[in-house]
């Protein structure tokens, strides 16, 4: 084979196909059998009728769709900035609304209650809208990470209405309670899980001063309420009457309780820098720029800031039960963990909770480390002040950026084993977050000695 083949590199397909009937040495001149050809469709090789990702890999910018997509993206970013500049600060609109309520002739008590209801509606609206948005976004991002398209049909533009239809489907689904389940607990579990999530949003800043409630100990309040949800998760696992669910629920409890500690301790340096537990004060403490252009965000404080940011990010990922820490829902081991036996709206409440906590963690990351509502660059002098982008746009953009990081993690990393997960927490994350507090003390001492950061 080697001797014959070495001289002739070009495959000659058509020739020896004709040689075959001759070799068979048929006596009569039968009509020649059709020449054997490769499978073709419309004269093309089948491989050419299918999508092969070779071209887009070689030079993506050569594809018009790719260039159009970049233009769309730029347009969307500019559009959001324009809407922001047009609307202005949302907190100011809130003040106007409150003033309007005050002039409506209602007694002050009623005004206060109506105002609370308005704010509650807004927060719940944010959480629900976030559920719709985050599911769609997660599906799109996972699709693009995995070189797929994701939802493309519902609603027309890139499947934007997909989650709306999904929600309608979930609302219409039969609510199944397994025979082995504890009926009352099974009903209560999603409620116990979602309620603290809504309450934890009370002091969360959506802009410089845009929050449902200004609480002096906001940081403590958020962490305290966020950790109540685990009771709902354990209830769900226990009440389902399913071994896998129970295992998932207990794993979730162990994991969430463990990761509470480094999550809390990693924020201590931030609290030390800002000198307050109030989220608004923490946000405002990061206003201003070093050398006139470099933002004074806590994440840019040397070593301490980056470490605290990383620890908080990792602990937040673990808190929200997402990959690489999604042990409670480990699909290849536990089917779906604690929500295996839930369907319809009960199930979607758990999902609303998960995405609610992702959003909460994203906003907290933005407030604690990324300067809150502060712009990354000072407002240029040549642009008039009324064109400035309001703080709620910056805050939301930073939160969305962090949310993207969450999704990015999920579709990149494998999953840790249970014991590795606990080892990582107790033997690495927790000691180092303690050490980080010490480092923050050193930094503050140096600052007081006149090596100041400010």
């Amino acid at each position: 084979m080697k001797a014959e083949g070495s001289g002739k590199n070009e495959p000659v397909p058509a020739k020896h196909a004709e040689a075959k009937p001759a070799a068979a040495a048929a006596p009569a001149p039968k009509p020649a059998p059709p020449e054997p050809v490769l499978n073709r469709r419309h004269g093309k090789l089948l491989t050419e009728t299918r999508y092969w990702p070779t071209e887009i890999w070689r030079n993506p910018w050569s594809l018009p769709r790719y260039r159009a997509g970049a233009l769309w993206l730029a347009g969307i970013v500019l559009g959001i900035a324009a809407i922001g500049a047009g609307v202005g600060e949302l907190a100011a609109w809130g003040e106007k609304l409150l003033a309007l309520l005050g002039r409506s002739g209602l007694p002050p008590v009623a005004v206060a209650w109506v105002w609370v209801l308005v704010k509650l509606t807004c927060v719940i609206g944010v959480i629900v809208a976030n559920g719709l948005w985050a599911v769609w976004w997660e599906r799109k991002i996972s699709a693009h990470i995995q070189s797929r398209m994701g939802p493309m049909y519902a609603g027309g533009f890139h499947g934007w209405a997909q989650t709306i239809f999904d929600t309608i489907k979930l609302l219409l689904k039969e609510d199944v309670t397994p025979a082995a389940a504890d009926q009352v607990m099974h009903l209560l579990a999603p409620i116990v899980a979602i309620a603290p999530c809504v309450m934890a949003f009370a002091p969360v800043l959506f802009g410089d001063e845009l929050a449902a409630a200004r609480i002096d100990v906001g940081v403590l309040y958020v962490f305290a309420f966020a950790s109540i949800s685990v009771i709902g998760v354990v209830m769900a696992g226990w009440a389902s009457g399913n071994k896998y669910s129970l295992l998932g629920g207990l794993r979730a409890a162990a994991q969430i309780v463990s990761y509470e500690l480094p999550r809390g301790f990693s924020v201590v340096p931030v609290i030390m820098f800002a000198g307050s537990l109030d989220l608004a004060v923490i946000g405002q403490a990061q206003a201003g720029y070093w050398l006139g252009f470099f933002p004074r965000w806590f994440v840019f404080y040397p070593v301490v800031g980056q470490l605290a940011f990383l620890f908080f990010l990792i602990a937040s990922v673990a808190e929200t039960n997402r990959t690489p820490f999604d042990i409670p829902e480990a699909e290849s081991e536990l089917v779906a963990g604690f929500h295996t036996e839930f369907s319809g709206m009960k199930w979607s409440l758990f999902f609303l909770m998960e995405y609610g906590y992702v959003l909460l963690a994203s906003f907290l990351l933005a407030v604690f480390f990324l300067g809150g509502g502060a712009a990354p660059l000072p407002h240029p002098a040549f642009i008039p002040a009324w064109l400035s982008i309001p703080s709620w746009i910056w805050m939301t953009s930073k939160a969305m950026l962090m949310m993207f990081v969450f999704l990015w993690f999920r579709w990149t990393f494998p999953r840790l084993r249970v014991d590795q997960l606990m080892d990582f927490n107790w033997k690495f994350l927790l000691p180092w977050s303690f050490a980080n507090i010490g480092l923050a003390g050193v930094l503050i001492y140096l600052h007081l000695q006149g090596w100041g950061l400010r």
Binding site: E4, K8, P11, Q146
Partner: protein
């Protein structure tokens, strides 16, 4: 202190074991395998693989089929790598009939088998990633596998059960379009392997899950009769393509990658490196594709090999696939036996799972890359 030592025994301190069924319906048993696990706490004290859920009796069926019809049935053993099954049977039958295979057919057999090895290892890579919790490599691997299947479909019309390698040669020829498409795929694929390495192979979490897990020593691997990447992962350099070359493998330049410790990761990485070697092999075979006949002369439509027996084995994607063929001179084989690598690789599970934690079962099971179609036949 290990968990085993912590099991306290004594009067009044009796510890109960728990029996857990893993499969046949479970997200990560790779087909219809049932694993019966006896647990003491988190530790496995006894494990047995229970097979037979996919038994279709192909060995018996073949005794009532002509030799040409048998090739069709071989596709159904290891359906992820049907070309090598075709080849193993055809080699055995050609040995019986003493038919020389033309060089072009030999080279095409090498191309197709190596492409199929890549496709098969891609399935392993993707599903193993899912077992460990990484979803994205699965879609990457299937994207590339899809291209190989497109090439196969253009070649022989089938995407899974090819029936392409026939007695005395191959069924269809390739043309310049096909070879250029194949080269395009190879050029695309080579950097993708590096991408898998950065995404999965050297991911710290993946390493932590697999590097120290499921160790199989050299001796144990040989004793249990492992073959293929599972054997080479334990450091034994045995490859049928090198030790008993067929289809002219002796003329190609390729290496046999071996692992160091026999861990899950070694078995995994052996396969990743084998994909690189397969790409080299396909490139070499395409570069010196000889011209000439596709089918050997003198193979009748219904062959009746002289009475006798023959054994032929090939390096299939999952190990040493052997066919023992006995003919009594009739139209159908008198007896056919398959040395199925997956079946033999599966047996070691009952030894190495003992003493492992439950969480490692999925990682160990996945790393042996079994296909139940071949285990049960």
């Amino acid at each position: 202190m290990s968990t085993d030592e912590m099991i306290v025994t004594g009067p009044g301190l009796e510890m109960d074991t728990m029996f857990v069924n893993l499969g046949p319906q479970h997200p990560s048993t790779h087909g219809v395998l049932r694993l019966g696990l006896t647990l003491a706490g988190e530790v496995i004290t006894k494990a047995f693989p229970d097979i037979g859920y996919l038994h279709r009796g192909t060995e018996k069926l073949m005794e009532a089929r002509s030799y040409a019809q048998c090739v069709v049935l071989t596709d159904r053993w290891d359906y992820c790598s049907a070309m090598t099954n075709n080849l193993a049977f055809c080699l055995a039958a050609e040995k019986l009939m003493a038919v020389p295979v033309p060089p072009r057919a030999q080279a095409l057999r090498v191309v197709m088998c190596e492409l199929n090895r890549i496709a098969s290892h891609l399935i392993f890579l993707g599903t193993y990633g899912i077992d460990i919790g990484a979803f994205t490599p699965f879609l990457y691997a299937f994207r590339e596998r899809e291209m190989i299947l497109d090439l196969y479909e253009a070649l022989c019309g089938a995407r899974l059960t090819y029936n392409y390698i026939r007695l005395g040669g191959v069924a269809a020829d390739v043309d310049a379009d096909w070879t250029s498409k194949c080269r395009e795929f190879l050029e695309f694929f080579k950097p993708r392997i590096d991408e898998y390495d950065t995404l999965l192979s050297f991911n710290p979490i993946f390493l932590a899950r697999t590097k120290e897990v499921g160790l199989v020593s050299k001796e144990a691997a040989v004793d249990w009769g492992l073959s293929g990447p599972n054997l080479r992962g334990s450091g034994v350099s045995y490859d049928v393509r090198k030790s008993e070359p067929y289809c002219g493998y002796e003329a190609y330049d390729f290496n046999v990658p071996v692992g160091a410790h026999g861990s899950c990761w070694d078995r995994y990485f052996c396969r990743v490196q084998e994909m690189r070697q397969s790409v080299r092999l396909v490139e070499q075979a395409l570069a010196k594709l000889p011209t000439g006949e596709l089918m050997a002369k003198g193979v009748p439509k219904i062959p009746k090999p002289p009475a006798g027996e023959a054994y032929a084995h090939v390096e299939a994607s999952r190990g040493d696939l052997g066919i023992y063929l006995v003919s009594d001179g009739g139209v159908a084989p008198y007896r056919l036996h398959v040395r199925a690598p997956c079946f033999i690789n599966l047996a070691i599970l009952q030894e190495i799972l003992v003493g492992k934690k439950v969480a490692d079962v999925i990682a160990v099971l996945g790393s042996f890359d079994i296909v139940l179609g071949e285990v049960d036949r």
